[in-house]
């Protein structure tokens, strides 16, 4: 039998501790959200759904939820086709300028979001997009594009462009051959990119802090404001729901990616 070296034990212990550090804070909000106590007590004195009730019966929270879902949905609907078209062009074209464009599309990951947020705020203030739904959607499309582009480019890498050539030589035009031959094969990475763009829009906070207002405030902005004032356990309930939604979407996306190999 193989003996386990001390170094290996240390490695396993260290890894386990770090993984606990990573996952524990995400899990701790679940029992807090089901606690009956007004103040944070752990373990909770008894279980209750009062914070979920508070959330679902509060018109302000409900309106914010609606804004978040509408913005995230529109973001996906716009960012996905733009990102797919861009990724396709980048992978097929041999133009030198495409490398620069590729880098430009990744800019939202490079520029600190606080800077983007303040800049967008100044521009929106000039054109009247502050505190509007289109303003929020546009900003989130910009933030979501890199996820779609990265995911679809990875998908296109394992796709053989010769197949599309064949379809075209058999008389299909470029558009039809893309939809009939290419798209079905990169579908998984398109869906994964779309899911990541959705999560990105759902979680986005900093730009919303600057440009959203009035009735068009997403959930994250209201949560942030509430957190600054006092710690309301309703936020634990909302956080639990948001985390559950993210987890399910990520599992969906990774299951799709694995299927495509």
């Amino acid at each position: 039998m193989r003996t386990i070296s001390p170094a290996r034990i240390v490695l396993i212990a260290a890894t386990a501790l770090v993984l606990i550090y990573l996952i524990l804070p995400v899990l701790i909000i679940v029992p807090i959200s089901f606690s009956s106590a007004r103040f944070l007590t752990f373990p909770p004195p008894s279980l209750s759904l009062r914070w979920y009730q508070q959330y679902f019966s509060n018109p302000a929270w409900m309106q914010a939820t609606q804004v978040t879902l509408i913005v995230a949905a529109f973001t996906v609907v716009i960012a996905t086709p733009l990102g797919v078209a861009a990724a396709y062009a980048i992978s097929q074209s041999k133009l030198r300028v495409m490398r620069v464009i590729h880098m430009a599309l990744l800019l939202p990951l490079v520029v600190p979001i606080i800077i983007t947020a303040v800049g967008i705020f100044f521009i929106y203030a000039r054109v009247g997009l502050v505190a509007t739904l289109p303003g929020l959607v546009l900003a989130n499309v910009m933030l979501g594009l890199p996820y779609v582009v990265i995911s679809v480019l990875a998908g296109l890498q394992s796709f053989d462009p010769a197949q599309e050539m064949v379809a075209r030589s058999l008389g299909m035009n470029r558009l039809r051959s893309f939809f009939a031959v290419t798209l079905p094969q990169i579908k998984s990475s398109v869906v994964a990119g779309a899911i990541f763009a959705f999560i990105s829009a759902m979680d986005e906070t900093i730009i919303a802090l600057f440009i959203s207002g009035g009735q068009y405030q997403p959930l994250t902005k209201r949560m942030f404001t509430a957190l600054r004032d006092e710690i309301d356990p309703t936020i634990a309930a909302i956080s639990t729901l948001m985390t559950a939604a993210s987890f399910m979407l990520v599992l969906l996306a990774s299951a799709r990616q694995r299927k495509s190999g």
């Binding site: 770090v18 396709y88 800077i115 956080s239």
Partner: protein, 270 residues
């Protein structure tokens, strides 16, 4: 092909290039050209201290993320496929949880009446609750937590490409496990270390939510200077100048790093 990229490119130009360009313009122009805002950043204590603090915190966070992240990436690479999937899942899932939710979770854990203080008092280890949050400590703990996946994923990607034969060759030639690790594996994993460290450091430089919610007003990072100058004082020129200096720092770091490794490697994650 250019027609296909142009809608996406237009979004990027209008919503990031133009806004950032506007900031740069606003930082030097206000009824005439002026470098007043930059002079203030250089001369006024509060700006100077904030930049210094931000770089210190970013460095600390990067080192901590590397120390915590390296063993995890190493383990994910060394164990069987099934365990590796489990480890990576535990790294990636928090990654896709809202930063705001995680900041809230850390508040719940660290505050005076929080989970950790209650637990320690229950065990009678401490009499008075510890001040774990609303200070730099709380900010660092939560920021490392949020940025750790950005370290682990590039490390793991690099380690996966290190051929196992090399370690076996080192061992068969008489090298102890420690020797082959330090002389063969570690040097080969350095590109991953650089990629992960760059991403963590740069993201930390611009971090806003954790210092704002967990710093208790004392940990004024550069991002907070920007937002306060906009929201509280309506000092748009000053905010723009701070933003420009921060952006230039970030771009300079990326430029220097790109001399050593491909930037795709740094940005390819998430």
């Amino acid at each position: 092909m250019l027609a296909l990229v142009s809608p996406a490119l237009l979004v990027i130009l209008l919503l990031i290039v133009l806004p950032v360009g506007w900031l740069a313009w606003q930082s030097i122009y206000h009824d005439g050209f002026t470098l007043e805002h930059y002079r203030r950043i250089l001369s006024e204590d509060i700006y100077w201290r904030s930049f210094a603090l931000t770089f210190e915190i970013s460095l600390l966070v990067t080192v901590l993320a590397l120390v915590l992240g390296y063993p995890v990436a190493y383990a994910a690479n060394a164990v069987s496929k099934a365990w590796s999937v489990v480890i990576l899942a535990l790294v990636v899932l928090p990654f896709w949880t809202s930063v705001l939710v995680r900041a809230y979770a850390w508040l719940a854990l660290l505050q005076r009446t929080g989970v950790i203080n209650q637990f320690l008092r229950y065990l009678d280890v401490i009499g008075e609750p510890l001040a774990l949050v609303h200070n730099t400590f709380g900010t660092v703990v939560a920021t490392v937590h949020i940025l750790l996946p950005f370290m682990v994923l590039p490390l793991y990607a690099t380690m996966q490409k290190i051929p196992n034969d090399l370690m076996q060759a080192g061992a068969s030639l008489g090298g102890s496990p420690a020797f082959t690790f330090f002389r063969v594996f570690l040097p080969l994993s350095l590109p991953g270390v650089l990629a992960g460290s760059t991403m963590v450091f740069v993201l930390c430089l611009g971090f806003y939510i954790t210092p704002e919610l967990l710093g208790g007003g004392r940990t004024v990072m550069v991002s907070m200077l920007v937002s306060r100058n906009v929201e509280l004082y309506n000092q748009f020129g000053a905010a723009s100048a701070v933003a420009v200096v921060l952006l230039l720092s970030v771009l300079l770091i990326f430029f220097v790093v790109s001399r050593f490794i491909s930037l795709d490697r740094v940005l390819g994650q998430k």
